[in-house]
Amino acid sequence: MASVRRQVIINRTADDVYAVIGDPVTIADWFPGMVNATVDGTTRIITTESGLPMAEEIVTNDAIQRRFQYRLAPGFIQDHLGTIDVFDLGDGRSLVAYSTDCEPAALALMIGGATGNALKELKRQLEEDQQPRR
């Protein structure tokens, strides 16, 4: 299984960042190329800009470790695990790592590219909005 990791440092606290990451329905607000997301229990359905709906299973949403994990349902993707970790850098900033483990390998590059772009957008939004998230 191929693995791609993207990361970004955000000038917001880890709690602020995880408040967004851990609210799974908000993903369409900060993930370019995703136009809609609905959540029902541990199932999230996202729809991409190209009109492709994809079902995901949320497998981890741990606000203490600040780890969010989900799997894209099998289909043209055989196996997938997306992991978003938010690390407290101790100075009001946080490190966000977004990993994609995927088979087929080629799709890890495509999904990983999109996640890298999403982290840039998440940083932009959070750094423009300096209000505490909660």
């Binding site: 087929p104 799709l107 590059l109 495509m110 590219g113």
Partner: protein, 521 residues
């Protein structure tokens, strides 16, 4: 002002044109342009894969500088663009066919060039390098195609809407594992080959010409225009309309000069090169996505080489005929005397050389010696010539500026193509640089190459199978097939040192930060 028809093909070898000595495909249209214009005998890409090379054509910059260091890295939307400068100068601007400045694989619909096809809009307003907001990359009309009917581009949508029965006729270039397919077909079970029953006038080569003619027909007679007509062929898959295969029978097709006919000879030649060559041949290393992951070159038969070459040649003939139709349309509009025509491609194809197919980190003539013809507008009164001095595709953008009378923008890293060898000498044109960088699943390969004074010299940076001391050095005159690697030959040690020093002295500025790979291709 002079108008510009910029014609590109994809992955076409120098020796596929009659004017360059090719004997397989008949290319009378391009041959006539060469006879009336300037034929470059050593035109060299700055990268031997599509996205970096095409980005160089558009930006007039080396891959290190524009930042598209391998396929899958999108050219930033606000990268420099010669089309933007021509648009600013009043030119109508179009790109019809294969662009590939942005990845095709785009499940999230993130890239403008994919979204335009879906929206049906001619262009989109995007920022330019200088902060101006204008049509995407400076093109006010964009219609895209690639090598088949899969995906979301204009040609695929057109075929699906008008001839849905033809969509499945093409070779499926990507397999179920999302790798470049190794599936064999045709008469010889050659990879990326299939018999395609599609009628010729539904095929993408004719579609690109049709759409180009339609765009030209919509212009006013007094418009100045820059049209990049970009054919997806003769890039694999080799699946031209089967109705045209009678032109060149594969069983009668000679083996290319670069194909060593015995395994022992192939292995001897490959073993004289840095070891990724032989490792790929044996199936021990696939360093780049563009090569089918599950195909082993050592299994290729001579008949497969013949069939691939025959199909490739048919595709070249169809391109030549399509170009002829466009030139007749231009003539009908009364524009011929004022139209500059530039014909080239983005990189070559191994096509049996060394017992290999496709492309990768292999800087020899198979991939680096390209067709390049410039037929200046007759009204410019530039004498026909043959240029033997090495030139690079990085010189195209400044050439378009010169044709249009636009001051050369600061971002350009080269000057216009020479109009003859004396012009090249007068302007100190002597070296051309080529780069390769790829990193795929921990396998990094990094080449830097200089072509100068009849020699081509490649150095290797440390990578997955290289320690940074490897190299290749070929005498292009004495060894036109690059079978004799002189890198370790003491007789040319001084020359090797000089070329390497020259190479490192002229490395282009690096784009910072390095851009991410965002898709396989």
């Amino acid at each position: 002002m002079r108008k510009i028809l910029f014609v590109t093909t994809d992955q076409q070898r120098y020796d596929t044109l009659g004017c360059n000595g090719g004997t397989l495909a008949r290319t009378p249209v391009v041959d006539a342009l060469a006879a009336a214009g300037i034929r470059y005998e050593r035109a060299i890409p700055q990268s031997v894969v599509c996205m970096p090379s095409r980005s160089t054509m558009l930006t007039g910059q080396y891959p290190s500088t524009h930042g598209v260091w391998m396929n899958g890295v999108p050219l930033p939307v606000d990268a420099p663009s010669v089309a933007a400068d021509l648009h600013r100068a009043g030119y109508r601007t179009a790109l019809i066919g294969k662009a590939h400045f942005e990845p095709f694989m785009d499940a999230f619909g993130r890239f403008t060039e994919n979204l335009l096809a879906r929206s049906g809009n001619e262009t989109a307003q995007r920022p330019w390098a200088d902060g101006t907001v204008g049509p995407h990359r400076g093109f006010d009309h964009l219609e895209f195609a690639t090598h088949g009917a899969a995906g979301m581009l204009h040609y695929a949508r057109w075929l699906g809407a008008n001839h849905p029965e033809a969509v499945g006729m093409f070779y499926a270039a990507i397999d179920a594992g999302w790798n470049v397919s190794a599936l064999g077909g045709g008469d010889t079970d050659a990879p990326q080959v299939t018999a395609n029953p599609i009628p010729r006038d539904w095929y993408h080569t004719d579609w690109v010409a049709d759409r180009t003619i339609a765009w030209l027909d919509g212009l006013d007679a007094t418009d100045d225009w820059f049209c990049w007509m970009s054919f997806p062929d003769p890039h694999h898959p080799w699946d031209p309309p089967e109705s045209e295969m009678h032109r060149i029978l594969w069983k009668d097709t000679p083996l290319p000069a670069g194909y060593p006919t015995t395994a022992a000879e192939r292995e001897r030649i490959l073993d004289d090169k840095p070891r990724h060559w032989r490792m790929w041949y044996d199936g021990d290393l696939v360093s780049n996505y563009e090569a089918p992951k599950h195909w082993v070159p050592a299994t290729m038969t001579a008949d497969q080489v013949r069939e691939v070459n025959a199909r490739n040649a048919v595709e070249c003939e169809l391109i030549d005929e399509a170009l002829g139709r466009v030139l007749r349309a231009i003539d009908t509009r009364g524009w011929t005397d004022d139209v500059d025509i530039v014909f080239t491609t983005d990189h070559g194809e191994l096509q049996g050389d060394f017992g290999l197919l496709f492309k990768g980190p292999y800087h020899t003539d198979s991939l680096m010696r390209l067709p390049l013809i410039w037929r200046p507008a007759p009204s410019a009164h530039i004498a026909p010539a043959v240029v033997t001095t090495p030139v690079g595709l990085v010189e195209l953008a400044p050439t378009f500026c010169a044709i249009a009378g636009v001051d050369a923008p600061d971002y350009l890293q080269a000057t216009a193509l020479p109009i003859d060898d004396q012009d090249a000498t007068d302007r100190d044109k002597e070296r051309v640089l080529t780069e390769w960088d790829s990193e795929l699943w921990g396998v990094g390969v990094h080449l830097r190459t200089i072509t100068r004074n009849g020699w081509v010299c490649t150095t290797y940076r440390p990578g997955f199978v290289h320690n940074g001391n490897e190299g290749e050095l070929y005498d292009l005159g004495a060894d036109p097939l690059q079978h004799d690697n002189r890198w370790n030959d003491p007789a040319v040690a001084a020359l090797q040192s000089d070329l390497v020093a020259d190479l490192w002295d002229h490395q282009p500025q690096a784009h910072t930060p390095r851009l991410d790979v965002e898709a396989p291709v």
